[in-house]
Chain length 284, copies 2
């Protein structure tokens, strides 16, 4: 935490706790951050160094077999909220060798034959790695609820299954950083319009985006329910105001830093005789 730019720890003030109300969040605010966009840009670069250093310590343990901990960043958001920018500008600042990135699209036929957590399990980060989920098992209680792909009873079962699943993960050493990037309905309209206005952005647009947008209130209700049911002390949700992309990126960076500082990986000890190896090397 750089105290001069933050007036409060984002991992605390953005946590969805008891009585959390999504409709009370101002997506255009920048809570806890004392600077502007220019300050944020510098801050992102400065903190990227620290994030990279912490990640290297974590990764080092994976090479020597000592690592027991991992980090899992779960990104959920309405379209255009900036998941891709987080991956590029925050995650992209650390060594790609230590990152396991999984983008979950509509499930395949094979995936649908299994329980909804099966494909998730297959993509969990190994000890020493930072896993990044671009969408996740939460789609199965969000889009599934909004489109009625599962009935209320099944959705309830899934909340419970997710809680048990995430408890197992945290107990076995994975820090789960759950992030909802929260944009306003107006901001989404502007961003979608930009994709329509620019031919080099057409590939990012799909008519389905407006279909989903028309269900905005249903999505917010589904998010509210999911946040209530699955924001646990060990795997809390963070709802990040994201109309300002620079703010959301800084926050997610700080959340990752906090998770890695909590793990507090130390450099692995040499399991060989350093002096003897030095002699062998000199003679080689």
């Amino acid at each position: 935490m750089s105290k001069h730019v933050w007036t409060a720890r984002p991992d605390r003030i953005l946590r969805a706790g008891e009585g959390f109300r999504l409709d009370a969040v101002d997506a255009g605010a920048t809570p806890g951050f004392a600077g502007d966009k220019a300050v944020a840009r510098k801050q992102l670069a400065v903190r990227s160094q620290l994030l990279g250093d912490l990640q290297e310590r974590l990764y080092a343990g994976s090479r020597t077999g000592e690592a027991t901990d991992a980090v899992l960043l779960v990104l959920q958001a309405m379209d255009t909220a900036g998941k891709g920018g987080i991956v590029r500008h925050v995650v992209g600042g650390v060594d790609p060798q230590g990152i396991e990135l999984a983008a979950f699209k509509a499930p395949t036929e094979e995936e649908l034959k299994h329980d909804f957590l099966w494909r998730i399990e297959n993509r969990l980060p190994a000890p020493g790695f930072i896993g990044v989920f671009d969408r996740s098992h939460y789609e199965d209680v969000l889009i599934a609820r909004v489109h009625g792909l599962a009935d209320g009873r099944e959705i309830e079962r899934r909340y419970d299954a997710i809680e048990a699943f995430e408890r197992r993960l945290t107990e076995s050493g994975t820090r789960i950083v759950k992030v909802m990037l929260h944009i306003s309905r107006d901001e989404q309209k502007e961003r979608l319009m930009e994709r329509l206005d620019r031919p080099d952005k057409h590939w990012k647009y799909s008519p389905g985006d407006v279909d989903e947008r028309l269900r905005w209130d249903d999505y917010m209700a589904a998010y509210q329910a999911a946040l209530e049911r699955t924001s646990t002390p060990d795997a809390p949700w963070h709802v990040v105001p994201s109309d300002h992309k620079w703010y959301a990126r800084l926050v997610v960076q700080e959340l990752l830093i906090a998770a890695l500082e909590d793990i507090d990986s130390q450099w692995p000890q040499a399991d060989f005789d350093v002096a003897a190896e030095r002699k062998r090397l000199v003679a080689s």
Copy 2:
């Protein structure tokens, strides 16, 4: 190509062609580059923008289903030559979402039951992606030859198999960029010594590194043979002098840029009615 810093195209002058002799390469040279380390650092940042832009065009096609081409960067080198630095500082400059990174270690029991190209096939980049192989199928004609894990006849079979395999890949749209990072024996000694001197680098050291170093000449002979047998017009090898890390990074960046410029991806055309979507969006 930025003409003011390069006096010759690195993809041309570093190509291992007819009559190539590895022992004639000066690992400490910086052929074709007119600047020093400081210039190189700036150049890397500037060209990273272009690399990222080209990669985004390639990736866009994967999202719309139009992409038919991919890039595969194959990195081979003696220990400490800088593969990791290439991944971090060159590949790390582009959007992680478009990268498929595979680090090949000693084969598992299951992998050994299959032909040596089986595990390679499984990790090939999909159209629209840049695949990066940190070590590769070439280990099966390098370490395998040096340690006698396969006899001469089997090694010959593998050269032919690799040539046929890579021809199939290039014919189906993959640009294969094969890079040997070439360091001198003295430089390797210095880099290994640094790993022994610094406790935060011990995890990167293994006593086996000196064992392999003692077979230096055998490795150079194995590389020479592999370069002769598998540097084809469609999938040529580039031997990159790598005692100066900054030079090697710039070169690999240029090789990737050249491959992407060769593909010359265009932004996908909208497959929807832009005006109609604009109306729908405004009304939403």
